[in-house]
Structure formats: structure tokens, C-alpha cells
Symmetry: C2
Subunit: 334 residues, 2 copies
């Protein structure tokens, strides 16, 4: 491995001068700078990030901790984050707190000294964890985390409003028995979407029949199962709101499988508007969330905290959603 020492020797200067020539160029005479740069090029020198970070205590890396890496939602978030990060010369260290892996606390701990900041998305996050696993003052942006009193930036999508808009739309189409396939238990997004569903029902003057709210966990499998459970009801719903697109697609599957037509026999709406939503048949009505923008925004907030810590103050942002009406809900003209 060629170190800065080799470069210095080759250029006939001290390592301090070599170091300066390579990035604090105004502090060294023009011709020495050229000599050093030429030597570095010739030797194919590239600085050792670990060493550099130890010395400067900046790593130019941000950690991205997600609950999982499966599905389009996460890949879009990552894409948004990475794009922004790359734009300012940072790298992304990826980690997922999958069940069965190391605990969230361990995952956070293991990043110390390796990342300058963190984008954290986890339904389990809470203040206690923050105190135990994160150095105080460590820049963190929480993405779709349950609200907590920790002094961190947070970013959420308008779950309540989005679900509300979807259910109001369904009610507006004349549906009176509107079911929901809920997201994962204990998940903040899931709870908010449920809340939006209930509020919209109430506003429309519809009863919130408990048997119409079945459980799911955001996976296609539970969407499928949830839909089948709803079909077994004596008085079955005429519309289903699935708390994310994955489950909506699972439900579509189940309905097709049961010989029902969507939207003629039963209407369906999802949430997230993942890329796949427009390609399923019938195309899925969904609540659009610009997922990669969510990631990009999170990264941008983190960088502003990193680059100008002096005028940083914690903020909570909510990203708006928009209802995208496609064929699956049966609205006219689609």
C-alpha cells in the first residue's frame, strides 16, 4: 500500500508538505505542489480513509439504518438518500435491523466512529434507546419513527391525511362498507393510517364495524390473507383500503383467485404508490408518497446539520401525499 509517506519521499518533501499539497494547496509553493501531485499520480496514491477519519474525526459517511431491505419502498428510500449523499461527496453505510439480526442498539453502537450521522427508520425507536446507543449531539434524522421527545430531526409522511383522503374518496363513490387491512401492529405508520381511516368513516357518517378492520403486517401474504378473511364475512365489504401497496397487491391476488372482479365487485385502494402500483391489473388506486424524495430530504437535512452545526435546530417535517386514482377503485373515467 502506498502511503503519503511514500509520496513525500518520492517528491522529496516532508509528509506535512505532501499532505498540504494535496488539499490545502494555497499553503505550499506552486512548484512543490506540482511535484507532489505528480508523485501522487505516478504512485497511484489514494488516501487511507480510516486514518484520515481518525485524524479529522470526520468520516464522510452516513449510516442508513432500516427495518428491512425488502421491497420497493426501501430501495427507493435508499436511492434518494444515496443520490443526495453522493452529490456532496458522502458514502452510505447500509444496515438493516432485521428480526433475528443484531439488536437495534447493537447496530447503532457498531457504527460509532464510522459514520458522521445517521438516517434512522425504525418502528422501535424511542428515547431510551437514543440515550443508550447514540452519543449526545450525534446528528440523526428519524424517518417515519414513532414520535418521541428526543432532540432529533424527524421526517414523516402524511399518513393520517393520506388514509383519510383515500377513504373519503371511497365513501364518495358510494361505498358504505369499507374495510381496512391494517399495517403491522405497533407500527406508527400503521396506527396513523388506521386513524385516518376511522376519521374519514366517521365524517362520512359510516359506522366503524370492527370486523371490517383486519390485521396485516405490510407483506403481500397478509394482504392476501386479509382479503380472504374479509370475503368470508356474512356481509362483505364493497371496498378495501389496504394500508400499503404490497398488501393491496396481495389482496388483488386473493380476489382474482376467488373469481371476483375488481373494481366491479369490490374496490381496492393502497398506500405508498410504489412503482409497481401502476402496472398491476387493474392499476392500483393509491396514496402517492414520493419515496425517493423522502430519502433525499432526510439526507439533505442530515447534511445541513453536518455542514453547519452552528445554525441547526431540530425540526419535524411531514411530507404531503396525494391521492392517485386509477382503475382499482372504480371511479368513473378510469
Amino acid at each position: 500500500m502506498v502511503t503519503i509517506r511514500d509520496v513525500a519521499r518520492a517528491a522529496g518533501v516532508s509528509i506535512a508538505t505532501a499532505s498540504r499539497a494535496l488539499h490545502k494547496s494555497h499553503l505550499v509553493a506552486e512548484d512543490t505542489r506540482e511535484t507532489v501531485r505528480a508523485a501522487a499520480d505516478r504512485l497511484l496514491y489514494s488516501p487511507h480513509r480510516g486514518a484520515r477519519s481518525l485524524s479529522t474525526s470526520r468520516t464522510h459517511t452516513i449510516g442508513v439504518l432500516l427495518p428491512d431491505l425488502y421491497g420497493e419502498f426501501f430501495s427507493e428510500v435508499i436511492r434518494g438518500i444515496d443520490q443526495t449523499a453522493q452529490g456532496v461527496g458522502y458514502h452510505c453505510l447500509l444496515s438493516s435491523a432485521r428480526h433475528g439480526g443484531p439488536t437495534l442498539e447493537a447496530a447503532l453502537r457498531s457504527m460509532r466512529g464510522w459514520v458522521d450521522g445517521l438516517v434512522l427508520m425504525s418502528p422501535e425507536f424511542n428515547g431510551d434507546l437514543s440515550k443508550r446507543a447514540l452519543p449526545s449531539g450525534f446528528p440523526v434524522v428519524l424517518l417515519n419513527c414513532p414520535p418521541s421527545d428526543t432532540p432529533h430531526d424527524s421526517l414523516t409522511v402524511a399518513n393520517y391525511e393520506g388514509a383519510h383522503a383515500m377513504v373519503r374518496h371511497l365513501a364518495g363513490l358510494g361505498h358504505t362498507r369499507i374495510a381496512i387491512i391494517q399495517g403491522a401492529a405497533g407500527n406508527f405508520d400503521a396506527a396513523e393510517r388506521l386513524r385516518g381511516y376511522r376519521a374519514a368513516l366517521e365524517e362520512a357518517g359510516l359506522p366503524a364495524a370492527p370486523e371490517l378492520a383486519v390485521r396485516g403486517d405490510f407483506s403481500e401474504a397478509t394482504g392476501d390473507a386479509g382479503a380472504r378473511a374479509l370475503l368470508r364475512l356474512p356481509d362483505r365489504p364493497t371496498a378495501i383500503f389496504a394500508a400499503n401497496d404490497g398488501m393491496a397487491i396481495g389482496a388483488l391476488h386473493a380476489l382474482r383467485d376467488s373469481g371476483l372482479r375488481v373494481p366491479e365487485d369490490i374496490a381496492i385502494g393502497g398506500f405508498d404508490d410504489i412503482p409497481m402500483a401502476r402496472y398491476v391489473e387493474p392499476a392500483l388506486t393509491s396514496v402517492h408518497v414520493d419515496i425517493s424524495a423522502l430519502g433525499a430530504r432526510a439526507a439533505a437535512r442530515l447534511f445541513s446539520a453536518l455542514e453547519r452545526p452552528e445554525d441547526w435546530n431540530i425540526s419535524r417535517e411531514t411530507l404531503p401525499t396525494t391521492l392517485v386514482v386509477r382503475r382499482s377503485c372504480g371511479a368513473r373515467g378510469n
Copy 2:
């Protein structure tokens, strides 16, 4: 930040003993070990990875360099890699060599001293780049890279065989004018799939009409455009093989838009079998590649090179593909 020095002081031992107590436990007396561990716990000590890596020259991080981060293919690869990495206590540093970003060489260089090895997927990779940007002997696994004479492990999918099987299947269904929407120019996978297409045509005794091979770049948009171009032909094809699923889905769109029925009027086949393939309507016949297994396998090879460098020797593996027949190709029974 609490360092090992603080832990040592709190436990009343030297830093060497503290360090040993925390992971070379057999070298220190049981009760001091307990004292040290207790102190570390109490102070919420977690070691500084940067410092540790400088000292041990192991980072426990692998780099993952992809041409892009868009789409399900990449997210599945990442998932496979990360899952394997996490299993052996490694982290993934993600980077994409998107057009417009830093050059591939710069991206590789910037990882020095930050990763122990690399999973590299890039259509532009070549021997010269390897010499310039990678320390010799640096563990690298090439994923779907063009063949080169560099001493690296490589992993590819059976592009030729997969495409061949698909086209033979279409020919077997009686199609005589079979078109292809090609992958990105200069891309190795794309070239191999084209080769498989041509070979299968020849074996079936079908002429390889040049107007039936339109260009694409693996994006949905070019799939859409490619299909439209094919429809404008005076003697239009009865079957289209798109070199990946993204383009196949774009083509489906274009056909539906033009009022054609799939598979009755025109049959379609894709490649990759991304999760979405089974959900589009009609479900897409495709060449299945276990993408996350591909990533997992790449990571596994890398780790075996890292953990036991002594008995490592370079290998080239090809992952088999399987034809998955769904409705879009019009085969009976589907």
C-alpha cells in the same frame, strides 16, 4: 466520547488490559475482566471503528459498487449481499457509479482503507481500471461484469442459456417472427442475451430479420418505445422477447395502449423475473434469476476470500436460470 482510555481508568487498569478484557478474554484474570466489562457497560463504551481499523487493518466492511440503484434488480442484489454480510458481522458500504457521478475509478479509489473487499457490478469494468484503482491482491468479486483477464472472482448469470430457452420456447409455440428488444448497448448481459436469442432462432430454422432486433437500455421507457417501433413494422412480429422485465413491462403498456391483446395478438417474454413480473396483467413469462441469491453468493465468495486468504483461488461461476412460463407468452394451460 468515551474511549478505551476512560474505561481503563474507570476500571483501574492499563488500556492494554482493558482492550484485552474486551475481546481476548483468556489473557486476563477473570475478575479484572469483569471489572473492565462492567466499567465499559456503565460508561456505554463502544469502540471506535475507525481507530480499530487503522490498527488492525481490517474494517469489517465490504464495498458494494453498482451501476445504479434503481429498480428491483439492484435492491434484491443488495438485500442478498447485506443479509450474508450481516450474518458474519460485516457492514455494507453502498455506492453507485451513476452517470454524472464520480467516475468509476474515483469511486473505487475513494474506498481505500474503508472496506476489506468489494462486490463490483459494472458494465465498464476492465483490466486497466483494475490495475489503476485496486490495490493488487485486494479481494473483489465481479458481478455480471464483462469477462476480463483480471485475477478476480467473477459471478454471472446464465444469460445466453436463459435467452436461448426463452426464444426456443416461443418458437415452440409456433411463432416465426420473434422480435427482441435489446438491452443497453455495450452491456455484457445484453450482448449475451442477444447471442442466445440469435442462436435459438437459428436452431429453430428461423431467419434473424434485422428489423426485429430493436434497441433498448433496460428501462421501461425504451421497452415501451421498442414495442411501438415493432408495431409500426409492415410485417409485425407475433412475439417479443424483451431483454429484461422492466422493458417487457414497458412493452406490455405500449401494447395495451395500442389496443392489442397479450398474449392473443402478441406474446411477450422478459428476463430476470423480478417480483413484479407475476403481478402484471397478464402475468409475465420470464427467465427466472434468483437475484438475491446472486448477491448472497457474491458476498459469500468474498468472505471466504477474506477469512481464509491462504486457500483462496479465483473462480468463475455462472448462476443457472429457469424459464418461468406465465400467461403473457400464451402457452396453453396458463
